[in-house]
Subunit: 543 residues, 2 copies
């Protein structure tokens, strides 16, 4: 186990007023830099199924900031009806000294057949697989570490029932991280864990929509979001977009001219957006774009669901296939400053529910994400979680807490994110280099993605396809032909039409989505070469 | 790591026709006794996010058994609308030899900062905490064990995205276990993992009910089930019960005389039941009772949701506070034969959705359970899981698979369950002994629970309470007085009224729920002594 970290704090203040500890400026990273400033918590806070409130884990003073607006007018009957758990009222009496509980039906940890849980993980700064193999650190959680005062989180606690919020131990870290990166500009923001953002969206829609609703989104959007919404009777209304995502003027126009009879739905009050490295288009909205969209949201009282799995997959600027490599962030503060501001960081009204996830930066299999929103919304979310998903797996929570809190600390985690940033930059550059080398530019064009996993290929010359039929405007037929030809050549890409926000709407664009996240570099290159062959054959171009 | 288990199979056939491997008859338990009979699976079956079908993991021949009925007439609009995932169609092309996928947005395991996951667990037969500490076995999963042919499940696979079914590796074990214990008597039964039975019920109701419905249940029922149903517009209709749970005649009468106008709901088509060690009453239905209920369900076409977290907490027969200890099961076959038959095992129609859970027998924090039902229902469940909960945590799945499949095997797991059975028997006997010793029998009576965690105390003489008001029939007021007095005396029990299936219905019974699951023996005894004091003072009896 790593030795306890020093408690000194070295901090810098960035331009947005957030105080960010900056271990990178010190010769050796102080991985647990925030610890010295943490409020003392009673040991009971770390006990089995102990309730916790993320408000207690915030370090800033929010008294002078505005309270979030109330969203009662958008909250569904289902969520209105859902109240707290009867049995949890009884827990209030457990504080009485010496009381013996024959109440709660929690099994005794005596019957958990687990004595230790260990993970072998990278030391800070030695992040590659090879380095981890050679110099990785083994972190071990014992069964009764809490009772034995060895650690504040253990098997007896993590492996028992918990609260819908997740355990206080990890919730504290998540809240601190959120404050450090986003510093939400209103008083009553809160965090709670989710079991992943797919579930987060499902729960958000059950809380904030009703059957028949339409919800704004990018014109091409995350297919699972459309498929999640449809069974709830909620259709997406795709807003025209460019390489920064949703166009604010187009959004305003749609809302201003909304015709209930024509649309068959009341005017939208929800927007679902993936503003960074969007799936499938790779679009990333700048700060200016986000501020413009936020203004339109205020004008029409739109509640924003900000789904941000790729937020930390923002890459180094692209300087061309043989341009110079821009230097990586020199400090944690520089790294955070270089990130595009989130909607949450602009959210003076508390009209944003932000969905964060560990899936793209640690491991999807952890099934841990978190939600940040106003206290009203988070309370409703927790009440639902208590009666459905419950909190995330205790196995996952304990392992992640050992890694990001006890071992890496906030500084080490930011170092890991910087590592990932550089890795994805390399991958992105490989696919862009291959596209420049192998693709026929008379048929296909693209923008270099600045974040995420996806490269969006615009088959802008699709009307030159031999089977194009100007009368029938058979875009999807052509798309299918090209898709099959790419497979013939030995590569697999995703069809753009699979990402239509509204499949009933006619589209006059034809795209394919490629990812550079999964395959090794030489496979990416070969895959793009095959794609180029397929396009040449299909369109009969020699270029 | 444990050495690979021998492949010999020693099996016995029990009266229900299930073939059960019987390692207990051999001098040394063969913990992986079923392995020799497993079908060979292609290595691709164990890969990242590989789809799997529990049908392939069944060992029996079901060709001669009837197909399950179709439930289209009960399936909700939501579930009808939900179709498979578009992007998963693309996975069909991945079989093409040499194809390079630039399609799926799965992160590369290179960026999972986990090199190993280890758990220290009991060796078979050395199950106590002390023994585990001293002689526990450390099981380790490496990052690339699958690629390196060291094991069929590893970090690279388990920690990536998966299917809503959960991973094939653990699903196989779960399916085999279900077949061994329940042997469902129809052709197309299937299993899929849940993230716990609370979520299982939530998803079942969204699939099978619509707002305004009423659903049958025990008159006193699991509070979270009522609270889960209400926001969906589904109310419970409590059926009169005895110490075996729901009374079949009462159920038949309610359904036969259902008055839509009077009830404000269509005739129920769902029953929610916890037939073994019911929460809160501790009631366990015998085989005969279950057969009678199943018949009524057939008569009125009721679909049964069988929630069975306590199924394996069936205890040794109670023989009085100084009666002889009945001998524990002599073999695995004896153990399984001694279990009360599940609804699933009687389900010739495929009208049962059974919810199983590891929470009470391994650890609640795993957030892994499973659902068994007909292929139609399981398919709908999986489609929903794919778009909301997803499968359980990969950290949990990998740890549990290491334990129950690779290390213990089915035999070792049954040994563990027998161990738990004896432990709970001891705990149950302690609380019963204490009740006999300390409680005033002129006020309170009880039945010895035969399963589960709960002891249900009937304050049958509540009308002798000094504040009883025959005109107002103030049962809940008296209950609250007693509740507070018990707390004054230093113990906490749960109020019976918190478990009303239908809180709007008037009740003329007064109960408290005690659990013997959590506190150590001497605390249980002292807690019951305090309860006795409270009752004596409250009722002014000297006994």
């Amino acid at each position: 186990m790593a030795p306890p970290a020093a408690l000194e704090v070295e901090a810098v203040t960035d331009t947005t007023g957030v105080t960010i500890p900056d271990p990178l400026k010190a010769p050796v990273p102080k991985s647990n830099d925030i610890r010295g400033r943490r409020k003392k918590a009673d040991k009971a806070q770390w006990g089995v199924a102990a309730p916790s409130d993320s408000a207690n884990f915030r370090q800033g003073n929010y008294d002078d900031k505005p309270l979030a607006r109330r969203w009662d007018h958008y909250i569904s009957d289902e969520a209105h009806t859902r109240k707290g758990n009867n049995l949890k009222k009884a827990a209030g009496f457990l504080g009485k000294p010496g009381i013996i509980s024959l109440g709660g039906g929690l099994p005794s940890s005596e019957y958990f057949p687990f004595e230790e849980l260990s993970i072998k993980v990278p030391a800070v700064g030695k992040f590659s697989e090879q380095e981890t193999k050679e110099s990785g650190v083994i972190l071990t959680a014992g069964k009764h570490d809490l009772a034995e005062d060895k650690a504040i989180f253990d098997i007896a606690t993590a492996f028992n029932y918990g609260q819908g919020t997740g355990a206080a131990q990890l919730l504290r870290w998540i809240t601190e991280h959120t404050e450090m990166v986003h510093n939400p500009p209103y008083q009553d923001w809160r965090c709670t864990m989710s079991i992943g953002s797919t579930s987060g969206l499902d729960m958000a829609l059950r809380m904030l929509s009703r059957p028949g609703d339409m919800m704004l989104s990018e014109d091409y959007t995350f297919a699972a979001a459309v498929e999640c919404a449809l069974p709830l009777g909620v259709r997406m209304c795709g807003v025209p977009m460019d390489s920064e995502g949703i166009l604010p003027d187009a959004m305003d126009e749609i809302l201003t001219n909304w015709d209930v009879a024509d649309r068959g739905a009341r005017k939208p009050h929800l927007m679902y957006t993936v503003p960074t490295g969007q799936n499938p288009t790779g679009a990333t909205a700048s700060g200016a774009r986000r501020r413009a969209i936020y203004k339109v949201a205020q004008k029409h009282d739109i509640y924003i669901i900000e789904d941000e799995p790729y937020y930390f997959l923002q890459m180094q600027p692209y300087t061309g296939s043989d341009g110079p490599n821009p230097p990586p962030p020199a400090s944690h503060a520089d790294f955070i400053k270089a990130l595009v501001p989130s909607y949450l960081s602009l959210d003076t009204d508390g009209r944003v529910m932000r969905l964060d996830s560990f899936s793209k930066v640690l491991a999807p299999g952890s099934r841990i994400g978190w939600v940040t929103a106003s206290a009203q919304i988070i309370k409703k979310y927790q009440q639902h979680a208590d009666l459905s998903t419950q909190g995330p797996s205790g196995f996952s929570q304990l392992a992640l807490w050992k890694l990001v809190d006890e071992h890496w600390g906030h500084g080490g985690y930011l170092d890991w994110l910087i590592h990932i940033r550089l890795e994805y930059t390399t991958r992105r550059n490989i696919i862009l280099g291959a596209c420049e080398k192998y693709l026929p530019k008379s048929i296909v064009r693209w923008n270099p993605p600045s974040a995420g996993m996806f490269h969006w290929l615009d088959i802008y010359a699709y009307k030159q396809h031999p089977l194009w039929d100007e009368k029938r405007k058979n875009v999807e037929e052509i798309e299918e032909r090209i898709f099959m030809k790419i497979i013939d050549e030995g590569a697999l890409l995703m069809r753009g039409s699979w990402f239509y926000a509204d499949p009933s709407q006619k589209h006059d664009t034809l795209f394919f989505r490629a990812t550079y996240a999964a395959a090794p570099g030489e496979k990416i290159e070969e895959g793009v070469r095959r794609l180029g062959e397929a396009l040449r054959r299909e369109f009969g171009v020699k270029e």
